[in-house]
Amino acid sequence: MKNEVKINEVSSATLKGRREFLKISGLVVASTGLIMMGCNDDDNPAADDKFPGVRNGKFDLGGNDLGVLSYAYALEQLEADFYTKVVNASNFTTTFNASERQVLTDLYYHEVIHREFFKTALTGALPNPSVQLLPNLAFSYGSLNFNSRNEVLATAKALEDTGVAAYNGAGKLLTNPDYLLLAGKIVSVEARHASAIRSLINPNSADFAGDDVINTTSGLDVVKNPSEVLPIAGGFITTSFTAQFLP
């Protein structure tokens, strides 16, 4: 049963050991000067270099490119956790019809892949990942009923639209074109998701790209800064962290 893949059965330890670490690290380091500059500062990761790490007793996302990617990692952790709970809910097979289950299962796959990708890529790129990698976050969905079609789809819609707006806002914060392309590869898939969820909620409509998200004069989608996104995501994230260097 595909749907019985639990969150903790997905191994985070996808690296094949030290050699793989070095390979990935080398790939990323070769394309950016920022990381090289930080490498001689391993003992003090949360200094002025704006790498992610603990500051004033709390994990701070940091403010360089890897800080922006850590911000994306936090959002992907939330999405992955949400869909993991959706597909493992006790009444998943009766709450949703077959085509809805297909969509939600695909979203579960995609978001878990995004999460594990960021974990691996950041572990490879951070000079001192043992203290700079964003920890596994904890989540709470309050009274959300995972066996309610309406509640699950409404929450999914909010998460996907927020994800699109967040990546659209993160693009200009990145200085490395390789990371920018990576964010671009993911954001369009989030937008495809948002469209799909919106179609499930209101199929015979223009809601897939509705006037509530697409500006009716410019035709532009929503864009949000981290300081606007994190309070929204914070409604579900119970692990406390800061983003003092992100706008």
């Binding site: 695909d106 954001v187 469209s195 799909a196 897939f208 035709g219």
Partner: protein
């Protein structure tokens, strides 16, 4: 470059009926000539080539913010005209989901054209590029507006297939231009805001065709003409910065989770199929 793909006949699996003729063959050779010529000359000489035998073709835009907007504008011109013609043709079923969807998409593409022209400094600017002349029949291989009377059902199926190809191309093309905009944060952000709208469109059009909203491997999907394969080639990637995205749930899910870019040259080659 996927020139060989364009050598494949414009047979259309279950969509086309027997309009194949010497005229189609002639046009296929015409396109082969265009693409081969474009590929054979050095980048900087493409303009020379297009100034004689194939005057209407667009050339690859420079790897600059202006170039990125110019290429984007040409693609938006194409989409805008396609949907306006589609809505006017009577091919799109009226009164239901299809009409609502394409009216919304058409409104967005029209907005994008206006927005990008303004971004280039207006139609009087030296950076402005004019709308090319489009041929959505690709020399008679398609009839998406039922202009020659293949019937509304067949025409609508072709309209949908082309809409999917245009939207999926748009997503990949904007992605390919992101690096060219990295020095101009406001333009980059605006381009990203268009990019995600194209992805929302692509997802919905694919559902109207009975497909998933995301691209699996390099599959163009059931019923898509072979000529559209260039839109999907290269989408099957399952390695992202050294991470194997197929590890957890297989290659299909791993490839679906990431959309891949098209280069400027690849985008121009696809656009030129529809430019006369």
């Amino acid at each position: 470059m996927n020139i060989l793909k364009f050598l494949e006949p414009f047979t259309n699996e279950n969509l086309m009926n027997g309009k194949g003729s010497r005229r189609d063959s002639f046009n296929l050779f015409g396109h082969l000539g265009k693409n081969a010529a474009l590929a054979a000359v050095p980048f900087g000489l493409a303009g020379l080539t297009s100034s004689n035998a194939f005057a209407a073709d667009i050339s690859p835009t420079p790897a600059t913010p202006i170039g990125a907007l110019q290429l984007a504008l040409t693609l938006e011109y194409l989409e805008k005209e396609f949907y306006i013609m589609g809505l006017a043709s009577g091919v799109i079923p009226t009164g239901g989901r299809e009409e609502k969807v394409f009216m919304q998409i058409s409104a967005h593409e029209t907005d994008h054209v206006t927005f990008l022209i303004a971004g280039l400094g207006g139609s009087g600017s030296a950076n402005f590029v004019a709308k090319p002349t489009f041929d959505f029949t690709v020399g008679g291989a398609f009839d998406p507006f039922n202009a020659t009377g293949i019937g509304k059902t067949a025409a609508y199926a072709q309209f949908l297939a082309l809409a999917q190809a245009f939207e999926d191309t748009g997503v990949r093309a904007y992605k390919g231009q992101a690096a060219n905009l990295i020095s101009t944060p406001d333009l980059l952000t605006a381009a990203l805001q268009i990019h995600s709208v194209e992805a929302r469109h692509a997802s919905e059009v694919r559902r109207l065709r009975g497909l998933k909203g995301w691209i699996t491997g390099n599959e163009r999907g059931a019923g898509m003409p072979a000529a559209t394969q260039a839109v999907y080639d290269g989408e099957q990637v399952t390695t992202q910065v050294g991470y194997n995205t197929a590890t957890l749930f297989g290659a299909a899910a791993g490839s679906e989770a990431y959309d891949e870019p098209l280069t400027t040259a690849e985008t121009v080659t696809i656009a030129n199929l529809f430019i006369v």
